[in-house]
Symmetry: D2
Subunit: 271 residues, 4 copies
């Protein structure tokens, strides 16, 4: 399957403002590109990339006085399969986890494992470890939080989402991740493109999406507490402990988001 | 100057409990060792080390049923100088910061930059950028928080410390770090040995200490909001975004801290 | 299966001599340890470890005037299976190889791909790509080189081994690796323990062994051009481009190897 | 000072040919860009970057049947100063070198330290360690090798250059690097742009240049055995052990270099 995706995003500023953007696809998808993936800046200011500690592509750019539009449009090959299910994937003992996975058991800015541990153990302690327990956590999260764009706010944490029972996809992910970590299941936050391939078209404007991955049976598996059903065509952009590590744009100074269009569609051919 | 340091720490458990310990000196001090640095486990269970994303040595060990004592005793060469002052170190523009420094501007588990930004700008926005601004933040933090061991709790954040005005050295560090980051000054959390060399002996049992570093003028500089004075003989163990990344021991299961003795003393010779 | 392994190695020197040693097991085997893995130095001088760019544990130590004995004795759990065969593992197109695998297609100190390319293509160009081609390279190398300890010398390269047709296990590995790389098959050098489990006992004193791995079908596979048969009980110590990256000990100054005993045996229980 | 630099390079092929290119500036110069640095491919095929173990930007691209032109044109800010001299920079004892520097003491594909050690010690053993010894090595190399483009060949090593006494800038670098390493001075290979700023214009077409760096007194210093004089305006592209790690383009299959133009000039303003 071919998927064409990209964005046009505009920031307006009154003074030069440095920005850290994570607006590239994740390096793990680079070899699937069938057209160039190129971020176009208007005006054409210098930009450059580096990799963060999680292997994500970070772009540094200074938004000039007035503003900046960043655009991207590319096509990737995708296997077209829904998220894989692996109900037999076992939960590894902590002592058997690879070294570099351990960090995804710890707390992070939006995932206060220390505050939700009792809740997690009381709700999920009696459920069999492994896939079943993760699914129970996802079911709980999916039902516990009411989705609504107005409920988004930048400092909302998993604890807040648990208390307020309202949120957006990132809050669903944060809560489910936190509960998994409390149960000693490594979990990491993912962000990227997710179109409506194979599902009824959404009536809201397209946005980037947040989901998460858990480490079971020796590999990482995709879950999505917002939708709670296997989906087709996720194109990963960044992974990390939580939304802090994967913010689409972090500006160091005042910048107004003045335009935001994301597209992700199955296409028949490169065009 | 020679410093002899180490610890005896005992955990008691009722079942095998995996542990992640950060009880080694930081690799940057390895070349200063004049005796072996070796963690001795009693009973003599397998342990091994790996490096985390911040370059810290992490030790993996499973505490056997009953418990485990970890001990260490070593001697390092130290320059014997107090923390250096560099009042002319300039605050770099964000666009001039090295790529790998940017992460220390972001929020983290115990450093909610999003919640303290207004406070920071209203208090420190009028102070000249650079060393002077950091010192103002340290002065404020030092005066704002009342020190007391009973005020320690594992989920206390910079925001909490700011509101409650009570805490321990880690809370001083978290608050000062958060305020620095809000002002676009990269700041990272440090933990290690700090004895009473050159200061009156403390009347409390020795513990590990927390301080922080800021990036000014192209390099990292040490500050200590708890003591707010240059000190001699810091031996770094771990650095990271905050206390999450540098916990002395993270146990995955129930473990009771049954013994805790840390020593750090100037010595005349290896013995 | 439990395997007990280790060594006693002695260097004698007339002056303090810095040494870089790779005498630990590879981190990928750390979780298999059932007893501590500890390098004991006599005299008990300071030593410390770091990781090189290939993920190997490197130990830095200064051999004191007179000399130094390094000893190790540990037990690991092993699956007890012979090297796996995967005749269907496909040779990936270069454009489909992961980024971090590409370096294992390039030339290196002892693997002069530029000098052996014509030889490789004329001999193996007609053989089907993938497992079969690697096996043909291993068969050729195994037959082409006559084994003999006296044929070892530190500056012998794959080209030299090909011309002289004499060598030791490291020369077999270097030649096979070079021929694989010439055919666009990523190949890396391995060193470690290899006892005579499941084969007739050797009549020579035990040494560390060299073998290699190739990247086929999305993962690394073990081959051994010296023995050219599946073996049981390899315990990896280090991996790299060639023997330069994995030398047991590199001394910066004159040092005489005055003792060298390696042991690797299946055992019934920890002892 | 502003420097405008770039290239137009064309490869012709008869079949799709994967390529690994190192045609970007080194990340350490990214913050000096005053215009975008963008590699333009004609035809506009997908390309993507990754970082190798030395921190260089590597570009992966498949040259389509027929061929591919890669072009780049950018402007950077430069301090305009000639290579710094630091005659007091001391040679560190091996035991005092940072861990990540040690690799630059070892042999590599084109730097056979094992074969040139006796030569190095007999020539330079009586010269004071440090800057003076490096300068003596550079003087020797500069005088020992006769420069000439026809002397270039891809498999020429430092040993070959030493024996044949003929070569190009990469051979000068390889020989000087090897001699430095033999004397326990860490040395690494550099490639990049070097125009004729401040020197009489060369009568040859511009090419990329090779030089090297040594680690003295706690930092890296630039030397150039080809020119043996401080130069202005080096723009680093890649660093590594030797030319293996820094090849402008490695093609996996037949490709003909059909066009090669490099430009590097001081400019008064962005144009």
């Amino acid at each position: 399957m071919l998927i064409r995706a990209g964005y046009d995003i505009r920031y307006e500023t009154e003074a030069e403002t440095p920005m850290l953007a994570m607006l590239s696809i994740h390096p793990s998808r680079n070899r699937d590109l069938v057209t160039p993936h190129r971020i176009v800046a208007d005006p054409d200011v210098p930009m450059y990339d580096y990799l963060d500690a999680y292997g994500n592509v970070c772009t540094r750019v200074t938004v000039p006085e007035g503003g900046l539009t960043l655009s991207c449009d590319f096509t990737v090959e995708d296997d077209g399969l829904p998220d894989a299910s692996a109900p037999d994937a076992a939960q590894l003992q902590v002592e058997d986890l690879p070294d570099d996975v351990l960090v995804f058991l710890l707390g992070s800015r939006y995932c206060e494992t220390d505050r939700l541990s009792d809740t997690a153990w009381s709700r999920f302690g009696d459920i069999a470890p492994g896939w079943q327990r993760v699914q129970a956590i996802v079911d709980f999260t999916h039902d516990h939080i009411e989705f609504g764009y107005p409920y988004a706010r930048p400092d909302k944490t998993a604890w807040d989402a648990h208390q307020e029972q309202k949120g957006v996809c990132r809050d669903f992910a944060h809560l489910a991740i936190t509960l998994c970590r409390c149960m000693n299941i490594p979990a990491r936050y993912c962000t990227g493109y997710l179109g409506d391939i194979g599902v009824p078209p959404a009536d809201a404007p397209m946005d980037f999406s947040a989901w998460f991955e858990v480490y079971l049976g020796g590999s990482w598996h995709t879950f999505d507490a917002r939708h709670n059903r296997p989906r087709i065509g996720r194109i990963l952009m960044a992974r990390g402990r939580d939304a802090t590590d994967t913010a689409i744009a972090t500006t160091f100074g005042a910048a107004r988001l003045a335009g935001f269009h994301v597209h992700t569609d199955e296409v028949a051919a490169i065009g």
